[in-house]
């Protein structure tokens, strides 16, 4: 008799499973690739979308507030204090606080996410605008640049490194906070992580967790790259 080389025995209802899945290995590549289209890719896209929206809106608000505070110094304390207060609220508590008003929705999540970005974005933008050396500003004024020209031509470009470092922190922390948002909405990489934690099966939360880390690193790297392109003067080498 020749042993038939056939597929693994199929156990009804569980689909075809590999040895790795049967033994509940730490990470099963076959299961990960089989579920990429249905689970991981959609979760990754949602995660990116929630993050970009939160950081985008947060940046617009914080940037506008920082510009105002740059011209009206007295605004710095109240705005800075308020954004710092928001930052201290634990994410889950903030989600729960918002649910009665805005429901179990993306809106709830976004409000909270935006709130967390404000402090660092506001602070870094304002610091960047103020870091312009006094003699540079004085010469600009003495040359006959208007206040607006000093802002646009001098202060904003020189603030770019500080603004971008704020964006890096805000983006990376938002990416990790979006994972917690899975307690409220079934979106983002937090969903497979939560589900994975509730079952003994490893691959699901290991994969989702690794994707979240990879996403954070990629986003951080992207901002650094954009920063280098926007600020050629910071790495111009001294010609010998």
């Amino acid at each position: 008799m020749i042993a038939a080389a056939g597929p693994h025995p199929v156990i009804p209802d569980f689909g075809p499973v590999s040895r790795c899945v049967q033994d509940n290995g730490f990470f099963c590549t076959d299961w990960f690739t089989a579920n990429w289209d249905s689970v991981f890719w959609p979760a990754l896209v949602q995660h990116v979308r929630l993050t970009v929206m939160a950081v985008g809106i947060g940046f617009v608000l914080a940037f506008a507030a920082a510009l105002l505070a740059h011209f009206k110094g007295w605004l710095e304390r109240p705005v800075g204090g308020f954004t710092a207060f928001l930052y201290t609220i634990p994410p889950l508590a903030l989600f729960e606080l918002l649910v009665p008003g805005t429901g179990v929705s993306v809106l709830t999540v976004e409000i909270a996410l935006v709130a967390y970005t404000l402090m660092v974005l506001f602070k870094n933008t304002l610091t960047g605008l103020r870091e312009v050396p006094p003699d540079v500003r004085r010469v600009g004024e003495g040359m006959g640049l208007t206040r607006r020209q000093i802002l646009v031509r001098i202060e904003l470009p020189l603030a770019i490194p500080s603004i971008l470092s704020g964006l890096r922190i805000a983006t990376v922390t938002t990416i990790s906070t979006v994972e917690i948002a899975a307690f409220i909405i079934d979106q983002g990489l937090g969903s497979p992580i939560l589900q994975g934690l509730q079952s003994p099966f490893n691959t699901q939360f290991v994969a989702a967790g690794a994707l979240a880390v990879a996403l954070a690193l990629a986003a951080d790297g992207l901002i650094v790259l954009v920063g280098r392109l926007l600020t050629p003067w910071t790495h111009a080498r001294r010609a010998v």
Binding site: D135, V136, E141, G142, M143, L158, W233
Partner: protein
């Protein structure tokens, strides 16, 4: 009103006074003086004597509390501050180049905000970089951090000259440079000034620099008082009071020698066969005296630009010249 492209303008301080809020005494007290068009006037004095305040009242970074400042007869107070500043070149010790702009972009700043055409700006920037000795091809695209201190200050001067202002304000422009670079920049600026002839106010606290750079020197005392306003030679040979005498130093007699040239002396006839190398007639008496001391003799041959012997300088001649009173104000050698 001063026009674009005008080469120089007269600056008149008319009892200009600045009292800072909360200060017990004025920073500048009833300053009255006239700086003729095209001259370099050095504002000299110890710190706290109001030199910088006086300077920045001209471009209205500081507004006078009372009195007036006129450029070519028009009060600065009547002019729009932004427009006024665009017609005044401004150079400071820290230079204040915009670190995020290339050298070309830095120099182009004022022409840009004045709305010049692209081609005109490019040509002007190249012309200026050549003028200050930084070939645009090599330096135009660099950032300030890529230049040495002296090169940065040249860019600062080129930038101030960009829109061809009739007036230059320079606040200790070479104060942060090492002595050799500073001397070099002083020579460069004098050469540049020969060409562009801007009326220049130049703040300094260094007597040697003032003597070298100034057509006139205005000496200030603490409290913003102008104590003497005169040609360098007059200040050295006839200080107005003890303060001036102390400020210019005990070696003022030697300093005065830097203002006179060997060729201007009534030289003794040339020796037929001198045994030492001749001095150039364009050297200062200060250099001649030093050469005499070094050579250990009391007479040295003098040659003109072509190396022909024109006479002999002696210690007695220099001593006699040093004792001669300076020509009156305005007749600067």
């Amino acid at each position: 009103m001063a026009n674009q492209g005008q080469s120089a303008a007269e600056i008149v301080f008319d009892r200009a006074t600045k009292v800072y809020r909360g200060a017990p005494a004025p920073a500048v007290d009833e300053l009255s003086m006239t700086v003729p068009a095209g001259e370099i006037c050095v504002l000299l004095g110890p710190s706290g004597s109001g030199k910088t305040t006086a300077l920045t009242m001209v471009n209205r970074l500081v507004e006078p509390t009372s009195g007036d400042i006129r450029i070519d007869g028009v009060s600065v107070a009547e002019q729009d501050a932004t427009g006024l500043r665009r017609r005044i070149g401004y150079v400071i010790q820290q230079i204040g180049l915009f670190p995020h702009m290339t050298i070309e972009e830095n120099v182009a700043t004022v022409p840009q905000v004045l709305g010049w055409k692209r081609d005109r700006i490019r040509d002007r920037v190249r012309e200026l970089l050549d003028l200050v000795g930084l070939p645009p091809r090599e330096y135009g695209g660099r950032y300030p951090a890529q230049l040495s201190g002296g090169q940065r200050q040249r860019v600062g001067i080129a930038r101030a000259l960009a829109a061809d202002p009739p007036v230059m304000l320079m606040d200790e422009p070479f104060g942060a440079l090492d002595p050799i670079t500073r001397e070099h920049m002083q020579d460069e600026f004098l050469r540049l000034h020969e060409q562009v002839r801007k009326t220049t106010l130049f703040v300094s606290h260094d007597m040697d620099e003032a003597v070298k750079m100034g057509d006139r020197i205005a000496i200030f005392r603490e409290g913003g008082h102008l104590v003497q306003y005169d040609a360098p030679e007059r200040i050295l040979t006839a200080p107005a009071d003890d303060f001036v005498a102390r400020f210019i130093g005990a070696d003022r007699g030697l300093k005065a020698l830097t203002l006179r040239r060997v060729g201007d002396l009534p030289l003794e006839p040339a020796d037929a066969t001198p045994d030492t190398a001749p001095l150039a007639a364009t050297e200062t008496l200060h250099t001649a005296l030093s050469a005499l001391m070094t050579s250990g003799t009391d007479r040295l041959p003098v040659a003109d630009g072509d190396g022909r012997l024109v006479g002999t300088v002696t210690l007695d001649l220099i001593r006699a010249e040093a004792g001669r009173p300076a020509p009156h104000e305005g007749e600067v050698a």
